[in-house]
Symmetry: C2
Subunit: 342 residues, 2 copies
């Protein structure tokens, strides 16, 4: 098993990426190919003990920055790290790709390099989120497709179901449609049509509408929405965590706060761990579903630990072969849709 | 100033509602009319010291439950507490209405009772949310209109601007469009068209796209979106708070946790206060904007304190006369739209 890692993607690249890759090579049963400007990557590697670890470097002189327009950047920078990483996977020189860089660029490079699974209309970015239940929930799409049709959400439901089943080990994943109320009849034009379509879809277990307040409560294993709504849902959580953190920090200022801090350091640790459980970076990043290969996108602010976890998620994706499973289940779904529309 | 309060709306009605109304009558310079089944309301009032307080009771024998379809319920229950409360405002026997009941029923009853401000196409539910900045942000619509057109969001922007300026005291409220990225060009069909329209709108200060992670960070004073997206944004925050709370609670179980608790009780108080600041119940509920009168909707789980705050918000709304201001600013906005489309 060999994972190509975009050494230049993310706010803390290349330091954190290389450190995470070294940890993965050491602790997991996985080979790693670091993709980026040779000298930069080697300089980072020199800071670690890597003797005997299964780590290669693949040279890619260019880097796509977070602020760049992905379409433009991909046209111009043919030797960008994310592009080269995808090509390694395309050519069979790596089994999967991990990047914490520009999500749009990663999706574009994945489409150019690996292409779509035949029959998939729109690949989706799937967030794997913690719940207060036993298994994580998959929310998709969280950003690739801002305007969707019911059939796109139906394919998201199938891809999420396969991933939940194969990679997360959920026996019969329950699919929900993200909506503004659980009652039947709630929803907008898109979600009401999607629910109707899902009800008639083979291979899916529909639980109906799921409210946003229940995303984390484990009422569904897969929750589908368009990429605009999914992005809002994901980012609100992030913003709220940051706001609460900043307010708690404010409460701990001043001499009374400082005194308090002496006593509460242990709890602060507990609260931090609680936040971490709800933090999707810990869950190893977001798989791109519908791509004809395994590609995991880490959060831009990924630290070494998050990168290591993303590499583990990529390896698990390969081991459980969810791509092949999506490919084999999709025709029945698409046939059911075609039968409906005739 | 006299506020009609739906005594039967909310999970803790009528106890919490009556207790909150009594607190408002005692602490704020406000008269209160409690609307609900006479005997139930009087029985609750008997549990408080109300001698000399400006509290009346207006009989309404029926109640609309949270699970009812609002359209059906409003047709059947002509003497429901929320309906009678709106009628008091319509007839000039109250200056504003507060309810923590069924939001859809409240909106319907408000439309039947008070009607729309002339020129408003779609009234909206506006959430007044805390930020890490100095003033709260107004997010609208959060649920009344699941499928919107750009012109609806434009009217939301104006109504939110007037409310922020008049009631929250923001000098020149900055308007943002909730989107999946701050860069120009990000967004879905609705938001890109809305941004274009807002750029050409008189009386509005546009800051452009606002990401969901920045709702609480104070980059805009008014953020517009359709009611589906707004509902998701609001409810994710709620769900995340609940999930974190439940996880923190879990961390504090066991003998080590219990020991820890002894030391950390003071911090738990601090964290609770931090949560409370981010909790929109504390902010007095959501105004219905576009209704030809003042109507504040409290959260379904409102306690007495939340009801008292909602009554204060209603009184402030009346005092600052934002309804009249929307009425006088709307024609210029609508004229600009009409000029564009010819």
């Amino acid at each position: 098993m060999k994972i190509a890692v975009d050494a230049m993607g993310g706010d803390h690249a290349p330091e954190a990426i290389v450190a995470g890759a070294v940890a993965a090579a050491r602790e997991l049963n996985t080979e790693v190919v670091l993709v980026g400007p040779q000298d930069d990557v080697q300089a980072q590697l020199a800071r670690h003990r890597v003797d005997g670890l299964p780590i290669e470097v693949s040279d890619a002189p260019e880097v796509i920055q977070m602020h760049e327009s992905p379409g433009m950047a991909l046209r111009k920078k043919r030797r960008a790290s994310i592009v080269v990483a995808m090509e390694l996977a395309r050519d069979g020189r790596a089994d999967a790709v991990v990047s914490a860089g520009h999500t749009g660029a990663a999706m574009g490079a994945a489409l150019m390099g690996m292409g779509r699974i035949p029959g998939v209309d729109r690949p989706a970015i799937a967030a794997v989120l913690p719940t207060t239940g036993k298994t994580p929930v998959i929310l998709l799409d969280v950003g690739a497709n801002v305007d969707c049709k019911p059939h796109h959400l139906q394919q998201f439901a199938l891809m999420g179901t396969v991933y939940s089943n194969r990679v997360l080990g959920v026996a019969a994943p329950r699919v929900g449609v993200l909506s503004n109320g659980t009652e039947e009849g709630k929803g907008n034009d898109l979600t009401t049509a999607t629910t109707e379509l899902l009800r008639a879809s083979p291979g899916l277990t529909l639980v109906g509408n799921v409210e946003a307040r229940d995303i984390f409560s484990g009422v569904a294993d897969v929750i589908v929405c368009d990429g605009f709504v999914g992005n809002v849902a994901l980012k609100v959580g992030e913003g709220l965590s940051l706001a609460i953190r900043s307010i708690v920090k404010g409460e701990l200022l001043g001499w009374r706060g400082r005194l308090l801090k002496l006593y509460v350091a242990p709890l602060v640790g507990k609260v931090r761990r609680a936040y971490r459980r709800i933090d999707y970076r810990e869950y190893g990043g977001a798989p791109l579903l519908g791509i004809n290969g395994v590609c995991i996108i880490g959060h831009g602010s990924s630290n070494a630990r998050a990168i290591r976890n993303a590499i583990r998620a990529a390896a698990e994706g390969v081991a459980h072969n969810f791509v092949q499973e999506i490919r084999s289940q999709l025709p029945a779904l698409n046939a059911a849709v075609a039968a409906r529309s005739t």
